[in-house]
Assembly symmetry: C2
Homo-oligomer: 449 residues x 2
Amino acid sequence: MEQRQIVVVGGDAAGMRAASVAKRRGGDDVDVVVFERGAHTSYALCGLPYFVGGLVHGADRLVARTPEQHRENGIDVRMGHDVRAVALGAHEVEVVGPHGDVTRERYDRLVLATGAAPVRPPLPGIDAPGVSSIHSIPDAVALDALLRDRQPRRAVVVGGGYIGLEMVEAFLLRGLEVTLVEKLTQPMATLDPEMAERVADALVALGVDTRLGVGVEGFETGADGWITGVATEQGIVPADVVVLGLGVRPRTELARDAGIEIGPTGAIATDDHQRTSAPDVFAAGDCAQTTNRVSGKPAWVALGTHANQQGRVVGENVVGGDATFPGVLGTAVTKVCDTEIARTGLNRREAADAGFDVAAAITEGRTRAGYYPGVSKMAVKVVAEAASGRMLGAQIVGGKGAAKRVDAFAVAIWNGMTVEEFAQLDLGYAPPFSTPIDVSLLAARGVRL
Amino acid sequence: MEQRQIVVVGGDAAGMRAASVAKRRGGDDVDVVVFERGAHTSYALCGLPYFVGGLVHGADRLVARTPEQHRENGIDVRMGHDVRAVALGAHEVEVVGPHGDVTRERYDRLVLATGAAPVRPPLPGIDAPGVSSIHSIPDAVALDALLRDRQPRRAVVVGGGYIGLEMVEAFLLRGLEVTLVEKLTQPMATLDPEMAERVADALVALGVDTRLGVGVEGFETGADGWITGVATEQGIVPADVVVLGLGVRPRTELARDAGIEIGPTGAIATDDHQRTSAPDVFAAGDCAQTTNRVSGKPAWVALGTHANQQGRVVGENVVGGDATFPGVLGTAVTKVCDTEIARTGLNRREAADAGFDVAAAITEGRTRAGYYPGVSKMAVKVVAEAASGRMLGAQIVGGKGAAKRVDAFAVAIWNGMTVEEFAQLDLGYAPPFSTPIDVSLLAARGVRL
């Protein structure tokens, strides 16, 4: 093989995984150059709330691998470099260096791993000090410093999705009074309403002032310019610190400007090899669109797991491999204090939207034998196709040990199992781990077809 | 339907489940009579070690449903009744009542749910006070009383299987010095040696005097007749209390004497409807043989899960249903203090015995993100068919959260997934629950075909 240059844009999970695999597979036959705008590589975005919550001591613990460590593996990592254009015909990228110098770099294969950006609607006061997103190590370090230096008492979290709930937990752990403001009438938009209601109940039980169905109109500031309150449809909520958990959007400007196809989800369209519409250009991670295996439709899920897996696929393919990414189920887990939350596949609405005739049921059960210490309640909702009984999705809300039960559902849905088949599975049972027949099995049996 | 009489022998999980389902389905058309030798129905055998360990307060908490509660559901439960013979031709059972009175009871359908009995080899001194099996509520209550009344200091557990390890934990929780004596060179005979070694290391780390490869020859007693030590091939181990964890054997005397076929596992042969070789006679639970779905061979696994599921199948079938039990994978989980242990499918030896050409690998990983509090190590062994990559089995040893990961493997093996397919699954990830790519996925990828 002639010497090849592989250029990667973005030095977090997907980009560095692609770079690492390409270098390991390609060895001396490939030069791998990574351009990263920021100051960190391979860091755990999903760990930021736990750092803010004080569970992780030192933001450097969130860095899986530093630029230096990547360089030791033969990867040419260039920090503080912003790729601002791709010339597809010339096979070149235009890069702005840390001192404003502009250079062009040739590529044989280009990997776009530009990630996602937090959604920040143009509301009055959104840029006030004390209002932050949590999407980078500097974001988290700044918030941690603010919590220590200014000793705020009242936190408001705007948005009740994954990051929102994780930040609620973080503020509770730091001893703040917490208000959650969510425009929808439920937290966790990816759950069906009855399951989300259980999450809302858990928030209230934790003492969180939970305001659902309330839109945010802006941010009030004091004489010093700092945040003092969140203006909502239902009046002002006093706030000493605010975090926005309004979701993320794929960073696609670079691809879009180059004329690379953007999919209906707003993320970069890719095929099962993570190839984009442009020759020799791949995309992976939070900027890339994929496919939902249950609906067969385009999907966009910003999650470290997929970033890693897609990065590996790209890393193999840029050095001549034939790896494929099989699509996603939309499996996700999180927790807020002792309440665990999980989902996989399609919820009822998504299933209906995908054209399925749906049968579904919620089953209440326990995480452990009823007599075993630490037992807690859990609820499992199973969504199936009414005619065939094929499982389409599952949602779980419950105490410790509840969430990872979603994996059994994920494997079952991946394999097209029916609820009747699932109900007969041989899952692990012992009193510390389950009731004699796991609630997951009862939940599958609970669906009346 | 004419009035039918259903007779059930044995009032624990399988028998009472069969009775309950039959009564619920059959209603007034069926009389359901249950004969139970002991004083309890529907109790949690697998909870006994946790009661002895002091985690469960009151043995009555282990009773899911009392005889009275079953009677309220219309089941004629007769306690202290020992069925001593079955006359297949006459469709009758011969029963010895609590006062020694012998009666005969006609059946239209007979359900054998005679359970299992602890193995008690005829060793000198095995019946001495202070030496006990843990297989019934009276066993556990007596041991609990002994621990309180005699305040023993040194406990010896004979046998390092599930019950043995759970009793090790129970004695540690009660503050005793514990010695484990196991004839094999590893604990947990159903794990491959390298995985079992991790369990042995955990026992040693807990301060358990772990004596592997040491046979027991008898039990020493003092002047008062009470246990003073366990005589082993390597000398006497002092003991103030001894528990036997030598496994269980199916109780098949009643079936055998009636001429009902016993399978190669020593348990009652059944088909997929839980029918025995005799007309109108069914068997369920610890006395019944089933099939291993991976090897296709007869299997016998005494576990509450299967007892419940088989009981349900029988309950439906005795009232004219057509339910089937699909066989087992041999999924099992347990823990000893903070070390969790799980297995499903075939281990390497079992796979080789079943004629498979085996590829296998052990992968080390973590239960949570490396920076998240409470993260611990876990090891996963995956056993696959070398030619096809089809997964045959998995074993897990690790910290909190490790064991129930076995469920994802169980579902995958049930569906015949290959290691390559498994490695691409979309499993749940968040820092409190997993590394970005779950160690289960890495373990599947780790198998070189």
